[in-house]
Symmetry: C2
Subunit: 247 residues, 2 copies
Amino acid sequence: MAGNTSTPGATVTSRALALLGAFDEHHRRLTLTELADRAGLPMPTAHRLVGELVAWGALVRTSTGEYAVGRRLWDIGLLAPVQTGLREVASPYLHDLYGATLATVHLAVRDGTSALYVDRLAGHASVPVVSSIGSRLPLHATGVGKVLLAHAPLDVQHAVLADLTRITPYTITQPGLLRRQLARVVRDDYATTTEEMSLGGCSIAVPVRRGPDVVAALGMVLPSLKDRAKLVGALQVAARGIGRSLG
Amino acid sequence: MAGNTSTPGATVTSRALALLGAFDEHHRRLTLTELADRAGLPMPTAHRLVGELVAWGALVRTSTGEYAVGRRLWDIGLLAPVQTGLREVASPYLHDLYGATLATVHLAVRDGTSALYVDRLAGHASVPVVSSIGSRLPLHATGVGKVLLAHAPLDVQHAVLADLTRITPYTITQPGLLRRQLARVVRDDYATTTEEMSLGGCSIAVPVRRGPDVVAALGMVLPSLKDRAKLVGALQVAARGIGRSLG
DNA sequence: CAGGAGCCTTCCGCTCAGTGGAAGACTGTC
DNA sequence: GACAGTCTTCCACTGAGCGGAAGGCTCCTG
């Protein structure tokens, strides 16, 4: 829109969105300079656009002069269908599970080749875990991930099996081994991990089905897998309940 | 940006944001026509901007051809400081409370003259309630609202007391009566409502303090207030825990 | 306390990105 | 098969947006 643009072809909208995209889990607060830098915009341009975003409420300026994501974007983000159906429906079941076991409970969906954590419950007594709502973790190293992977299209499985990054010494990095595990996940209808994502943490997960389709995975993180049978039972009851409520 | 604009002075960014702002709790899915209408833009303009927003992931097009808020906006919305501190810290305490009582548990902050629900837990056994995460309800008709109002600046109190809309036959609409209740809330350190927001639902709420400041309110919704003393105790223990964790 | 490094903000002339009416395509409905 | 409702594409006109340059402002540091 301007004569002397340094990057002809870039739209105003794309610049504004680049500013929003400059924020991520590790950059929740940014100065104007950082914002301009991360969005690849000259300072004056960033300054003007950021001013508009702040005026609207997409961003806020903190008392320290830094910028953060604003409440209005938070509002609108919550309207995303990511949760509207699934999360809303699953919420009571997650609480039930949490109440019964006091372990960290997770609800995740597959987003490309990652597991996207849609909801998470963690109490005081729970094992500390790395996930948080909205975070993405690899499919091959988490309980919910293995469930989602086992029921994913073949091209996704191939892509994931071709790149098994090691996270802990116990992470499975051999495609053949993981492939056999996935077959077992389909057969037994649940998956487990043992310190594959974080040391000291094990997990169990089951698929959530809407009709015949696996739409999500429900899992929990524990210090050990000793009560496996009981936990799988509890998870499956909750998963069926969620599936039924999804209609 | 354009020669023949119908509304000179409006920036591209403001138009794009207007499109995002077209979504709200009651309009989670919109057709292009509705979007253009609600954003006050001509169809072709809306079409082009929406295309960019979809390409970036701010919006998604559903299988029915309607538009909804996209996953990427959801991601970024979650980074808002609204929850980062408070919600994260409070989460385990809410679960503890839920586990102990199985009632709907709420965490709210004051946003202007409304109570903004930052988190909510509801199980199967709980009374059905209107609130959901991200929703705003009036300060004068909810338990958490009364707590927040009682500790709000005087100008906010005046503004709210001047406009007490009736929601149920039991909603308090007399300023004098509410004023006396607020004094009691400050004295007793908890608030109650009886079918003032929704018929069949009562609530109890207590303030969450960070040092001397009331930063949030913690409440629960129940079919009756019979175990009031015990519930207030549980809420206050949780509220103090949250306050302490906030440092 | 001068000098300087890093921030942020304002200014302003150039120009191309953005605009939206008009027209066309693609549904479903009677 | 006409029609009403959606959505999509086209294109000539132009003012909104661009960003280099310059000016503030706030901390440092010697």
